[in-house]
Structure formats: C-alpha cells, structure tokens
C-alpha cells in the first residue's frame, strides 16, 4: 500500500472554500463521502469533533491533521486541502493552518498497513522542504506526485 492508494485526485481541493475549522472539515468530509468511503457522513464528522475536543490537531507550522476513527468509515482515506490565507485551527502556535490533511480510519480495520502509511505521512510533514513543496504546488497532479514520494 502507498499513500497514493489512500489519497487520490478526487480527494484533493487546491483552494478550500470554508473559512472556519468546522466548515473545512465538513468540506473535506464531503470529498471522502463522494469517494464512496463512508457509509454515512455524520458519525465520521462526530468522530473528528470528538478528537478535536481532546486537543487541537493543529500542530503548528501551518498544518492540521484532523482525524477520525469511526464505524461509518468503510476504507481508510486521506483528503487534502490547501487554504492559502489560512484557517484558524486553535493550533499550538496560534498560527492559522494552510495545509489540511484529513484522515478517515475505520473503527475495526483489517491490518494496520494504512496506519503505517499515515505514520510515514506524519513524519514527512515535519520536513520543512516537503511542506514548502506542497505549498508551491499548483495542480492536483503536483500533489499526487509529492504524495507518491512517501
């Protein structure tokens, strides 16, 4: 399995419309729903909110990784959105988030391969250069290309 198995072009939004955390999560969740990976959207949204309530997934450096584990998720997916002027994510460094990787994971999943992929992604996002290349990307193909490096 590769990250590009989880993150496909239809799950990417180069310019996120929402201007609040909730709107953005809702928007990206719609992409995952349209992709057919959800049985129902609301339980997944609830799982995202439950996670945000524990602590913000805005980890700083302009990155947010909202993630939800739910029975409503059929298959693991990653949606990605860019918000050029940033969206407030109650991040640890108070900076707005520009790069949003939103993760959907089934409650009970066979194997943990997808978790390994997400682990790789998480580690890669620490890399300044990788983040900069994501921000520099202009097309979905660019994003997929970067994702395939992982």
């Amino acid at each position: 399995m590769k990250l590009t198995d989880l993150l496909t072009e239809d799950l990417i939004k180069m310019d996120v419309e929402g201007s609040t955390k909730d709107e953005v999560m809702n928007e990206l969740a719609s992409l995952i729903e349209a992709n057919g990976a959800l049985t129902e959207k609301q339980p997944y949204i609830d799982a995202l909110h439950a996670r945000e309530q524990q602590s913000s997934t805005g980890i700083g450096f302009g990155i947010a990784i909202p993630h939800g584990k739910s029975d409503a998720v059929k298959e693991p997916r990653v949606a990605f959105g860019i918000k050029r002027d940033g969206v407030d994510w109650a991040s640890m460094d108070d900076e707005p988030a520009n790069l949003i990787f939103m993760i959907a994971v089934p409650e009970k999943s066979a194997g943990d391969e997808h978790l390994k992929i997400l682990q790789m992604l998480s580690r890669k996002l620490i890399d300044d250069e990788f983040r900069q290349s994501l921000l520099n990307a202009t097309t979905k193909e660019d994003i997929i290309k970067l994702a395939s490096e992982i």
């Binding site: 993630h67 640890m92 978790l115 390994k116 997400l118 998480s122």
Partner: protein
C-alpha cells in the same frame, strides 16, 4: 548524551509520529543520541529495552496519554504533552543539557499533573490526595442513603427506620457500604501519597480501625478526623521503614511484604492502644458531662450540642451528642433533639450553599461534592459535609460549628421539638417536629451563617 523518548497521543495516528520525528531530528542536530518509542494505534514500536534505559542520561515523555513511568525509577524523566514534543523539541533537550530535569521516583512518584503542586505543603498535598479519592464514596453513599431514607423511611421512636426486606433497605445497605469505605479510602490514599504503594495497605487498614470503634472498646469510631490521623501515621511509618537500608536480597520483598506488614502492625497498635482507648474514655466523659448539664441553662446546652454535632460530622463528639438527644426523647424531653436536628443538617446545607455562592473558592470536585452535600443535608446526613471539611478543616470546621450553634440556639429558644432521633428537614416532612416554622427558620439562619462565614474565611483556590 544518550536520550530516550516516548511519544503518544489520544488516537495514535499522527501526532505520536510527528513528535517522534521532531525529537529525533532535534536531538541529532544538537549532537545527542536518541531513541524514540512510539505508542500509537499500531501498538508500541521501537520499544525501549531495560538495557537502554539503564544507560540513558534522560527520558522525555511527550504524551497526551498516560504512559507508565515505573520502569524509569531513578532516571531523569521529563514528562510533557505530545504538542511540546512537536513544537519545542530543542527546549526539551536543552533542559537535560542544563541539568534542570528532576530524577523520577526518588522523592515521591506522583503523576505528571502533580508536578505543579511540588511547591505546596506536602501535608496539605497528601490530605488533598486522600480527600479527592474519598469524595466519590461520600457522594455515592450519601445519595443512596438519602434516597432510601427519603422514600422508604418511616419515623419511629428509634429513628428513621426502613421496613425490613424492602428494596429501600437494600439501597440503604449499598449506600452504607460506600460510607463504610469512606474513611479507609481517605486514610489509605493519604498514606499512598506519602509513601507510595507500600503505604496503601497500612493506611486503609488503619483507616478502618479508626472508623471502627469496637477495636478499642468504643461505641463510635474516631470518624474522619481519626482517619486523617491514621493515614498520616501509616504514611510516615511506611516512609520511615523504606529509608532503612536493607541487603539487596531483601529489597524486592520490601514494598509488597515487609513495609506493608510492619507498618500495618505499628499503625494498628498505635491506634488501638494510644489513640483509640482515649477516644472511648472521651465518649464516656462527654456523656456524663452532658448528663450533668441537664439542669443547666438550655441555651448553653444548645450551644454545646450544636458545636459537638458539627465538629466531627459523625465522629465521637457527634455520636455522643446525638445519643444524648435520643435518650432525652425517651425521657419525654424532645426539645434537645429539636436543637440537634437543626445542627445535623446545617453543615452540609451551609457548605453546599457556600459552594454555590462563591465558585472561585472551591475546586471543581468540591463544587460537585457541594451539590451532593445539599441533598444529604435535606435528609439529615451530616457526613455530606466531610469532603469539604477535610480539605480545609481549620477554616471549615469552625464555620460549621458556629452555624450549627446558632441554629441550635434558635431552635431551643423557640421550643422546637423533634420526637424522632434524626435530623434535617426530612423529620419535619414526617411530622415529627413541633413548631415547624421555627424549625425551618433555625435551619435557614444556621445555613446562612455557615455559608457566609466559611466563604469569608476561605481563600480563593490557586490554580
């Protein structure tokens, strides 16, 4: 330096690994060796070995989940949130470079969140620890007993009785079970916070002895004040035994066998022979003192009874006053019990009201305990005040004593009588009270005095 780290976050999907990556990079950049164990949803990966822990100069725990620290006893451990690991790995590592990280487990091994409390008075901290574990027992027991009495109780000359074999009897017994555990838990966790795990058994057993008067030939146990004494006694004895150097061979059995056994024995001996017997004597003395007061001024008597009822909330003073009032009903003088019935409920009601009036002076758990105290006060369970009193006895106990004294005197002066040996508004509901109006006025005044006094004395809590 050789550093180790553990990262973990609630879902274990992303932050765990970002923090691991950041810490690894920062350590490398600063010229240190590091190995990071990740506790994520895949499970534990890159697990630290005992050998590595032994060789390490320090351990960083960047986790938003509980991480077992017992394997790091005697090492320098810096515990923080996973976010710090992602955001400020350099600062965390610098703390080791500057030797600012304390050794874990040497002084005491309280949890991460208690690091902030390090500057507090250790006696106060131990007391707090015991009280916070005790509160749920008081609340559960008190509310179940209150429910059983309020719905299933019937007034009789021997007190509020619940018919044998009824479901309310069972509920009452369940509540009583929780109440029985209250003092042992208080004492046990006071001792635990002083001496760690080896203190728990001596503390709990000591607390049970303190609460059980039959150990030392007394009609009543030593109440929660006795429990506090037993807890500190057990804690410091266990801690003292810990300090005695022993051969390596014996070391492994010290915390599970030698320390608990010796400390329990000593606590039991001290409590039964040094503290317990005087309590039995004290109760006899108080009883004959009260009997001698029978002819004295009724107002003086009301003052004394009010103070005794409130002072230890179910301990020996309270019991003696209560039994005296009950005996007086049998002699046809129900006015004494009238005054006592007021004093029985003003401590929990007054403190409950106080937590509602000034939220800043009470911790969250105290405010919850305050609400439960209100319910318990209504049915005459003075013990409902204990969680609030035990945290801050020097300010709270005088306040509830004065409130109860005021209430008792008003009741006594206006000839309030109570024909059932029980207290609180519930006895009026059961029509056991003469002069109901003044009964309630006495309660209300006593409650207000208690609430305003305690809030005037208490300081706002520090965060």
């Amino acid at each position: 330096m050789k550093l180790l780290a553990i990262t973990s976050c609630p879902n274990g999907i992303a932050h765990t690994y970002m923090a691991a990556e950041k810490l690894a990079k920062a350590a490398e950049a600063m010229g240190h060796e590091i190995k990071v164990e990740t506790q994520g949803s895949i499970g534990v990966e890159n697990e630290l070995t005992a050998e590595e822990i032994r060789a390490a100069d320090g351990i960083i725990i960047a986790a938003d989940k509980q991480v077992d620290k017992s394997r790091f006893n005697g090492k320098k451990v810096l515990a923080t949130g996973v976010g710090e690991g992602i955001r400020k790995p350099e600062e965390l590592i610098k703390k080791f470079e500057n030797d600012e990280v304390p050794v874990y487990g040497k002084e005491d091994s309280t949890e991460v969140k208690e690091e902030k409390r390090g500057k507090e008075n250790p006696i106060y901290r131990s007391l707090m620890n015991g009280v916070s574990y005790m509160i749920p027992f008081v609340v559960v027991g008190g509310l179940l007993i209150a429910l059983a009495l309020a719905i299933g109780g019937e007034p009789t000359p021997t007190g509020l009785q619940i018919p044998e074999g009824s479901v309310w009897q069972t509920i009452l017994n369940v509540g009583a079970a929780s109440f029985t555990l209250m003092v042992p838990i208080l004492a046990g966790f006071i001792a635990y916070s002083i001496a760690d795990r080896p203190g728990l058994a001596p503390g709990m057993v000591g607390g049970y002895i303190a609460a059980t008067g039959s150990f030392y030939g007394s009609d009543a146990g030593a109440g929660f004040i006795g429990g506090i004494i037993a807890g500190f006694l057990a804690g410091y004895i266990a801690k003292a035994i810990k300090r005695i150097p022993v051969p390596k061979m014996v070391q492994p059995i010290m915390p599970i066998l030698v320390i608990p056994l010796v400390a329990t024995f000593l606590v039991a001996v001290i409590f039964i022979f040094v503290i317990g017997q005087p309590i039995a004597g004290l109760m006899e003395g108080l009883t004959s003192f009260l009997q001698g007061m029978e002819g004295a001024s009724r107002i003086v008597l009301a003052l004394i009874l009010g103070a005794m009822i409130a002072f230890d909330m179910g301990g020996p003073f309270n019991k003696v006053a209560f039994l005296f009032g009950a005996a007086m009903i049998a002699e046809g003088n129900a006015y004494i019990m009238g005054a006592i019935a007021v004093a029985i409920c003003t401590p929990p009601l007054g403190l409950g009201l106080a937590t509602l009036l000034n939220k800043k002076k009470y911790a969250d758990e105290e405010r919850e305990a305050g609400k439960a105290a209100l319910a318990m006060g209504l049915v005459g369970i003075t013990e409902g005040a204990i969680p609030l009193a035990a945290r801050d006895p020097l300010r709270v106990i005088p306040s509830i004593m004065i409130g109860a004294m005021v209430g008792s005197v008003i009741a006594m002066m206006s000839n309030v009588a109570d024909n059932v040996p029980h207290g609180g508004p519930i006895v009026a509901v059961f029509q056991a009270v003469d002069n109901v109006l003044m009964f309630f006025i006495a309660i209300i005044v006593g409650v207000l005095v208690t609430a305003f006094l305690v809030n005037a004395l208490k300081k706002p809590i520090k965060e």
